[in-house]
């Protein structure tokens, strides 16, 4: 993985407030210079007879912030999970990070070696956090460094502590997930997803499981990441936030991209269904 070759977005770094001690968000984000990062072409996904993704094309450019929204069951989470190979497409091609995968694959599986190499470039933040309950916050973040990147324990813990500091949780290193609030857990999860310096970060409804008063602290971390130039795809119901942060907005329905466009999509939707959804939500 040639992550060190990539340079952080210089304008974004300048926009960040100076942080004298500890790592800043920008230090952790190494946005690659090549475009596009991920390309999905004509992807389908069926569970048995039910087709949840019915032919989607999507291109994610480096540094782009893509927002996917839509009603439940529209396939937005499935589409997101494909970019991490947590769902294996039934048809179509997925090209990213120098490899191109054409589906369907033999026995509907991506070979382990290829899949793990692919996933190393992608971080994922889940709705339910999915922190490891048997580890302290520090080791939740350190363990990918040790197990995936082969970093020695002492260095991994050092870097994990720095990553936790960047989400404002250094003091909470020694706490187990069950001893943290939902917002804190989700910030640990973000630190864990960032620590391997992924080229792409996926958010699957990161605030849907949170109490209202904790949504803000998570969104502010996501906002920092965005301004640091991280490439992100976000599935969310927080449309106010989505509108603010995203530079490409995708409305999905029935496994298809019903409408996509810039910020103006929210104020002036072209698709009748988009309009009705936005009316109901906003």
């Amino acid at each position: 993985m040639n992550m060190d070759l990539a340079e952080p977005d210089s304008t974004a770094v300048a926009a960040m407030p100076p942080e004298p001690d500890g790592e800043t968000m920008a230090d952790l984000v190494k946005a690659p210079s090549s475009t596009p990062l991920v390309t999905l072409e004509g992807v389908h996904k069926s569970f048995g007879k039910r087709e949840v993704i019915a032919g989607v094309d999507l291109q994610v450019d480096a540094g782009q912030h893509i927002v996917i929204f839509g009603p439940s069951g529209s396939g937005k989470s499935t589409l997101l999970r494909m970019m991490n190979l947590l769902e294996i497409p039934s048809a179509g091609t997925l090209s990213a990070f120098g490899t191109s995968l054409t589906f369907p694959m033999k026995r509907d599986r991506v070979p382990v070696r290829q899949a793990t190499a692919f996933r190393r470039n992608v971080g994922m933040v889940f709705q339910q956090f999915n922190l490891f309950p048997n580890m302290r916050a520090l080791h939740n973040v350190a363990v990918p460094l040790m197990r995936t990147a082969g970093v020695k324990r002492a260095e991994a813990e050092e870097r994990a502590a720095a990553a936790l500091e960047s989400v404002g949780l250094r003091k909470w290193c020694g706490h187990f997930p069950s001893e943290l609030s939902g917002g804190q857990q989700q910030r640990v999860a973000i630190a864990r997803a960032l620590v391997l310096e992924p080229k792409l970060l996926l958010f699957d409804e990161p605030t849907s499981a949170l109490d209202v008063e904790m949504i803000g602290e998570v969104l502010s971390v996501v906002r920092d990441l965005a301004s640091a130039g991280m490439t992100m795809v976000i599935v969310t119901h927080e449309l106010g936030f989505a509108k603010e942060i995203g530079d490409m907005h995708i409305f999905m329905e029935d496994g298809l991209v019903a409408e996509k466009g810039p910020r103006s999509l929210y104020d002036n939707p072209q698709n009748e269904r988009t309009r009705r959804f936005l009316e109901a939500v906003l």
Binding site: R119, G123, Q128, R147, C173, A193
Partner: protein, 251 residues
């Protein structure tokens, strides 16, 4: 008092002092039983985990594991040990030692029980744990050993402890092949002293003490792993790690 009256008296009066007389043999019997049970536990845990994973495979591959589990959960230890010690010798001319036969007999039974314990423990772990591991680029082996196993261990430890107690007790039936465990020692002592009540009570007391010790050890383990350590001993056992991590929090 006549000699006959003396013998009669020895039948009705409990000579608790016999426990002291036979304490060496009884303790030897206990060690023998523990030896067999602990060796069986280690092997059964490994075999049980493998069986559990096989059992959790798609149905068209998993049926042999399911069949094995259902057969051997139903076989009594007495039958199992006779199969291994006498049956295999007769059928295939394989002669195990008494110790080996005892261990194999227990492993055959208890790997089936443990497989079900591990299956339910692994099944209790949320799907998101595996997905989190995958998303971090973990290989399947890493997911199993760093994510699933520690959590499954915490869930299954109390039941594994119960299984160990069961194993220690089941060794008592192995006197049929001549395993010199607690009950066999008691039976022998009874033959010369005519004091079954005293000696079998002593045997039972030893099993009960073992049960308490096993419970303590497994509860300490359970409280030391898989989350915030609870209680003085678990905290003491994890103290070094706690101190190391706290140093990062305070830096």
């Amino acid at each position: 008092m006549s000699a006959v009256a003396d013998v009669m008296a020895s039948h009705t009066i409990y000579h608790w002092g016999l426990i002291n007389t036979y304490r060496g043999q009884l303790l030897h019997g206990l060690l023998r039983a523990l030896n067999v049970a602990l060796a069986s536990l280690v092997l059964s845990v490994v075999c049980g985990m493998l069986l559990a994973m096989w059992r959790m495979a798609p149905r068209r591959y998993s049926w042999p594991a399911a069949l094995y589990i259902n057969i051997f959960r139903g076989v009594p230890p007495l039958v199992s040990v006779i199969w291994v010690y006498f049956g295999l010798a007769l059928a295939f001319n394989i002669q195990f030692s008494v110790f080996q036969a005892s261990v194999i007999a227990l492993v055959l039974l208890y790997s089936a029980f443990l497989a079900e314990i591990f299956r339910s423990a692994l099944g209790a772990i949320p799907k998101g744990q595996r997905e989190a591991g995958l998303s971090l680029g973990f290989r399947p082996r890493t997911i199993f050993f760093t994510v699933l196993l520690p959590q499954a261990a915490k869930i299954s430890l109390p039941n594994v402890g119960s299984m160990l107690i069961g194993m220690v007790k089941d060794t008592s039936t192995f006197q049929v092949i001549g395993l010199m465990e607690v009950v066999y020692v008691s039976t022998n002592a009874e033959a010369t002293t005519f004091q079954p009540f005293v000696l079998y009570t002593a045997a039972a007391a030893m099993y009960v003490i073992v049960a308490f010790v096993v419970d303590f050890v497994f509860r300490t383990l359970e409280r030391s792993i898989g989350g915030r350590p609870v209680g003085m001993l678990p905290r003491l056992l994890t103290y070094r790690k706690e101190r190391r991590v706290r140093a990062f929090a305070e830096a």
